[in-house]
Amino acid sequence: MVRWFGLALAFVGGACGAALHRVANDAASGDNVTLFRGGVAHVQHRIAVDLPAGASSVKLEIPADVKTEDLDWIDRGGLELGAIHVCASDPPQLIVGAQCGSTVDVRAPSAGHYILSVTYPTKLVWDAAYTMTTSATHDRATIRGSIAILNATGIAYHIAHLRVIDSALDAGVAARALALSASLAGTNVGTSPHAEVRDLGAVELRVGETRVPLIVDSKPRGIRSVLVYDPIGIALDTPTPASMPSEEPELGIIAPASTRVAESIELARSRSSSGLPAGPVRLLESRDDGTLAVVGESQMFDVATRVARVDTIEVGTAVGVSARRERREFSIDEDTHRIVEEFGIAIDNTRAGAVTMLLREHLYRGQNWAIAYASVPSTSVSKVGAQEITLRVQVPAHTKKTVVYVVVYSW
């Protein structure tokens, strides 16, 4: 039985004239695949093979998008590696009368079982999605999630460890470089939260789409109602840290901020949700007659709220509650490298009962910032992402309340 899928490896007739051999069945030699946002995956492929002593030429299967120079042979397993021959597709050309197959020349010191390991980047597109099912009382909900991976490489992978890191490859690499740099030279690690690694376990990734569950624990969890005011959203966020914050005075205030407040469901994140990738979530209501109805749709575990303790799902517009965002002060001090910006958010609750408001504020000018003042207790102010805070406030019935905060950007 051939158990190897990623890099199918078998002897081919070559200079050594070796006979065709089956690839060994070795449980310790599965692949490691790390998925990054943007469809890039890093594959660490282990190849187990039984070899005779001396030189052999073995067939090598790699995805078509992998360049020869991107193959990194990280473990030779005691074999001497010779030349690696890969059919060139760059530049594309018609090959007249040529047979093209990729092979590795190896030399084994003695007959035996060997495991090679090679890494390369390739394309594996994926998407995560979640559903939250709640009862009509909206007090508990069950979450389910899965990640769908489209393997169009033409190669089936037997993966011992599938991991997902919900950031672009560059950002994921930069986070590790930052950590290594800090350990080597004591350099500043920065305060921007990085994506956690989520281990998805052993997976058989055949050609085509494979779905892997993300949340195994499906016990119902408590949810509660909250009103969310998020007039800016993530549109102005700067995805890559810039050394200088934006000094554009009109940024974020040119279009008057919306006064709409969203009726939402709030769910606390559990420790087990660490590293879950962002994706859309549909809130389904389970009715007494057994039917399900979609009552809301939102985004969970979003990059912008990477370190948030709760997720919110909008279910409609809040009636009887409105809010208005206004900038009160803006100053730039080039000498001390500081930008100071003050905002006031006026909330008007005309309802007969008190409401809990969650104000989402986006610190879109840069990623180096500090909240210098907030008119609500500090325990009500939370950093939820690299450029986002939330301010939680109770507004009594028939009351107007204004929340003020001051952000200081530095560089």
Binding site: T119, R176, L184
Partner: protein
Amino acid sequence: MGRGASADRTAITVWAATAAAANPEGGDAYGNGSTPSGALITEQRELDVGSGEVRIENVAATLDPASVRLRGISDPQLAVAEQRFVPGAATPDDILGRRVGEPITVGTAKGEVVGILRAVDKDSLVVEVGTGAQRQLRVLHRDGFVQDVKLAPGGAPAKASLAVRLQTAKPGKQTVEISYRTEGLVWSADYLAVVDEAAKTFDFTGWATIKNTSGTTFDGAQITLVSSQPSNAKPGSGLTRFTIGKPVHVGDSESVQVELLPPRLHVKSRPVVTYEAIPDVSAVYRSSPSTECTNVPGTADKAEVALEVDVPGDPLADGKVRLFARKGSQLDLVSEDSLRTAIGLARVRVMPTADLTGERKILSCTLDERTRTLREKVEVALENKARQPVEAVAREFMWRAPSWKVEPGDETVKGVRAAPQTQEYRLSLPAGAKKSVVYTVTYTW
């Protein structure tokens, strides 16, 4: 006679696929010369030399005919009387075009058409059928109607070849050496560094990728790779060469990866923070020195955390290095960047840092036009703002002219020549400490 002959011995020298250094001030640096490109092929063939034309097949389709040199091994008096390069045919249209005037059998939806191919284009084939009064031309549309084309055996070869007439006093089988320059063969270097969990040692390997689009295959070739870096052997000894130990099969349309240097496993690595106060503008002034004291490059102010490893011998070829961190059986990519090479060592960049800052001052500058010398006294001050001590390396570019020297008495910290126009100074900086180096460089031209 093709390469199937028994006396084949092939040597290939490939130059690195490195773009010419960009001139940061625009325009070309006049007089720098150009770096060779492509490859030099030298092969031994057995040819049956007579009075007629000899066909040497399976040569590179991209060869430069003016560079072909043929030398008799069996008969040193062998001389070339005439030489023609017959280009190869790489596409079906090329192949058909080369068979105009030859017999052809075309399979169509209405049966086979047998005749002489008279013309071909992308839409149709023109075949002459019949003889005498029955002779006629048939235009066969290639889009759907033509199903199959059979060409007569032999005929014009699809691969590029050289046709030569040779003069010799010893007709018959002879061994000759043929050499030529060709495009379509390039190489580039790639390095792999795998650091252990404690970041104390790493495994360092280097690979060369040779891409062959020359249109031919080379069996058992002795490969020499030439980098764009000058050799350390002695001044003016030319570019660094890497010889691949074993013969290599380089197939047509193939990329071949071969090991560039013996793998260096579990080697001790040193963390350093490099600092470059100014950009390296040496290339601009290589042929015309900068003799104006007021002419100074802009600031670079670039600090990088790097892992450094000793690499005795010639500098490594320019190339990309991927740094992985090993954690158990898992490898994580940490950085991917150009390998920083210096004489005797290589550095793998981890990431830029703002925790090492510096300031460069020119303390004095004296031009002596009579002796054609310029003396410049420079101070580089570094400050470590990190939480722990660092080994800082101030990289100073002696950019004004290729001929320069720093006498031992001219520097407060002993420097090391790291590249033809680069001097490096090492300073151990405790956390929060400031240190400086002062040196005087003398340029001559």
